[in-house]
């Protein structure tokens, strides 16, 4: 299975991303943990398969998570009363993502997709796939505290 085969050339558009994700979800339905794990580990490297492939096994956007991914601890959680969509607070998302305890600034788009300070021009279907994409980009580097 080619990791790139279902990703359109304009994969960073919300429409393209959605169709890509849905296609991959369908492809992975019933495929089991092994294939999902393979998809998660096949995205290491700069010129390798697109990072989008980690999206496939994700749960819905509302899910919270606490996992170790490529050696980094990823936590995602809804914030109590975090429905402020304007400035201040936790920067408007009502959702917090931590990588090794340091906050990754994230934001939800009007269409429900997500972006982060590391991937600010490319949408992801869920906070978890966004956090994983940040881990891949970081290559072991530490996030700096939000100013």
């Amino acid at each position: 299975m080619s990791e790139n085969s279902v990703i359109p050339s304009n994969g960073s558009s919300p429409e393209g991303r959605h169709s890509s994700d849905l296609t991959r979800r369908r492809m992975l339905q019933g495929a089991g943990v092994a294939l999902a794990a393979a998809a998660g580990t096949a995205v290491i490297g700069f010129t390798g398969p697109s990072r989008q492939s980690a999206v496939a096994a994700d749960p819905g956007a509302g899910d919270e998570f606490d996992e170790v991914y490529q050696g980094r601890r990823l936590q995602g959680r809804r914030l109590d009363g975090g429905h402020d969509s304007g400035h201040g607070g936790h920067h408007g998302s009502g959702y917090q993502v931590l990588i090794d305890g340091e906050e990754l600034h994230v934001m939800q788009n009007a269409d429900g997709t997500w972006i982060s300070v590391v991937n600010h021009y490319q949408t992801h279907a869920t906070p978890r796939s966004l956090a994983r994409a940040a881990v891949i980009d970081l290559q072991g580097a530490e996030l700096l505290p939000l100013s």
Binding site: N4, S9, N10, S13, F46, T47, S85, V117
Partner: protein
């Protein structure tokens, strides 16, 4: 009148003058405020809250003003310098001259994405990143890895053909020229180029890569081209729109300039050619 030129046509001296002025701003400590200003706006511009620099109608006038300030800063170093633009519909490979060692330098290396050629390579000692998302203080790129292809001329033309500037709800879900140019919908022009370059250009601190200015100069040129083609259309909205900068409202952080003030770029500069 200053003329902004296609980077592919610059002479060796023009390239050197631009690069030297950028490096001098960095050396003087005046570059990093552009990085932090951009990031401050991009992480607070939200689809349902206040939005000025991004995902909103003022995306284009805000960046026009932002680029003007940077260009004037460069001109305080060397009055002959103007911002070049990068027509990524024409110069679209990882080995195009824009990425040459005499200009912006090339792709990041495969091991860690670090740019190792050209004047902005970390090893040159003149381009250490201060305002950055993570512990790495060297400029990174990953050309063509996260998205395969830059937008084509046909795709740009399809967006230029859209007659309405912007539409409610005036955010990343809007129909219209601005949002298709910005790239949250449709063929995706502006956002996709950030992603294509990758590394710091994919982050909220994207001005860390001087390619930011050449990319946004072309976005600015596309807006000017749209204005030429749609004489009966203009900036929207014109008034009473919550969280959004109306035509005659001022834009942060300057608070003394409105989108209306930015509509005619020929007051400040011209472009060498049409699209």
């Amino acid at each position: 009148m200053a003329v902004r030129k296609n980077q592919a046509t610059l002479t060796a001296k023009e390239k050197r003058d631009f690069v030297d002025a950028v490096l001098e701003l960095k050396r003087l400590g005046r570059y990093d405020s552009y990085v932090s200003t951009h990031n401050t706006f991009i992480i607070s511009d939200s689809d349902n809250g206040e939005r000025v620099g991004h995902r909103s109608p003022s995306f284009l006038p805000w960046h026009r003003r932002f680029l003007l300030q940077f260009e004037q800063d460069l001109q305080s170093i060397n009055p002959a310098v103007t911002l070049p633009y990068w027509d990524w519909t024409a110069d679209r490979t990882t080995t195009s001259s824009i990425w040459g060692p005499d200009f912006l330098g090339g792709n990041g290396r495969s091991s860690d994405g670090q740019v190792t050629t050209g004047p902005f390579a970390y090893s040159g000692g003149k381009w250490t990143l201060a305002v950055r998302p993570d512990s790495r203080n060297y400029l990174r790129r990953s050309l063509g890895s996260a998205v395969a292809a830059l937008p084509t001329k046909a795709e740009a033309e399809s967006v230029l053909a859209m007659s309405t500037y912007d539409m409610a709800p005036w955010n990343s879900s809007s129909d219209g020229f601005r949002n298709h140019l910005e790239g949250w919908r449709g063929v995706n022009l502006h956002n996709r180029v950030h992603v294509w370059i990758g590394g710091h250009m994919a982050t909220g601190m994207s001005p860390n890569d001087p390619a930011f200015w050449l990319h946004h100069c072309f976005i600015d040129k596309l807006w000017a081209e749209w204005q030429t083609r749609h004489r009966d259309q203009s900036y929207l909205p014109t008034g009473n729109t919550a969280n959004v900068v109306d035509l005659n409202e001022t834009m942060k952080p300057w608070n003394n300039v409105s989108p209306a003030d930015m509509l005619d770029h020929t007051k400040f500069y011209t472009y060498d050619t049409g699209f």
